[in-house]
Amino acid sequence: MNLEAIMDYMPQLLKGLETTLELTFASLFSGLALAVVFTLILSLRFKPLEWLVKAQILLFTGTPLLVQIFLIYYGPAQFKGLQDSFLWPLLSEPWFCALLALALNSAAYSTQLFKGAVDAVPAGDWEAALALGMNKRQTLIRIVLPHAFRRALPAYGNEMILVMKGTSLASTITLMDLMGYADRLNARTYDTLTVFTLAGVIYLTMTGIMTLVIRIMERRALAFSN
């Protein structure tokens, strides 16, 4: 590993950083939005929807993310009807498929976290809100959920890092993210140790920054407690 090689490889790897970051934030954002809706459905026990959410969680937490990505990207080609439909431009787009898989995967894990946090809110909070004349839905949205989301923040921080690491799998469906460029560079130069070490350094820097940001968010969100 010499300096010249590093100076040569680094700019090539950093070209993939934008895709990695975009995919991370887009998946986290859509995953979070879905997870909030799913948590509401589970907490309010909307009957048919509740079963659907439970099935979604079982499916997406019980199978590997890579299988989900392959199923979503390669799967639809089997159906002629889908290929002729308006969905095809989206489903043949690797970026969209990676986003869809990552968002659904993250939504499943996040819903588990949030539902656990909702269940952990002390019964006294519910009773106090009911005694003040609030109904179940008001209590959930105004009292319980804000409390639960704050409590779930440390665990959600881990989930954010898992999603960032998970975006690297998008390189397997031809998306040129950081891992995609690392792969290409490795295949071209055979300088495996240097290339993957540099890619690792970039990923570690991102994990480090995310950990710091999450810690600051936690401190803010839980500032009132203890």
């Binding site: 019980g62 199923l71 390669y74 799998l169």
Partner: protein
Amino acid sequence: MAVLFFNATLMTLGLALSSLILGLILATVFALLELGRFRILRYLTTTMVTVLRGLPEILVVFFIYFGSSHAIFLLTDEYIEVSPFTAGTIALGLIYAAYASQTIRGALMAVNKGQTEAAKALGIHTRRSFIRIVVPQAWRHALPGLGNQWLVLLKDTALVALIGSTELLHQAQMLSSKTFEPFTWYSVAAVIYLVITLISQKLLNSMKAKASQHERVVTA
């Protein structure tokens, strides 16, 4: 087809179990080093664990698989390929150990110090008291965490498909390109993963129940 998937399932389970065994051994070593007396080893272990947890799993797998051949080439000038199974086991074992060592460390610290002191007062040798008194109690604390990480490990074995080991995902890939029925075969693989996960969860629950059968039940 059934035979192919049966073999692939065995391969997935073999990968997962051998990674688990390697991972548990490494995790125990990491945990003891981190709790140990040598400051340099403590820092080195913490750094390694942090690095392993901060990297995408696919990068670790590729690093070990392609990197080991590269390293052997640099050292001996000979091109020797490491088998996907071996490379996968080492990579997944290391990743498992990075997470599990923290669980084991926490579990060991959660055992009340009075237990070791009481054993000492009874004249039980340090090593014996560690194995007979501390470990069984720590096991109870560690089991839920280790079980969750096993479920993660099981799913991470799919990554070894990318370096060419014929496990479930790779089998589905090969059949898909042969029959042009990707949805069917990836679904079959997904269902098998799901079944293994569900069986694992059942087993873990009964292990947890067994491990905590002596615990005092506090009823409100």
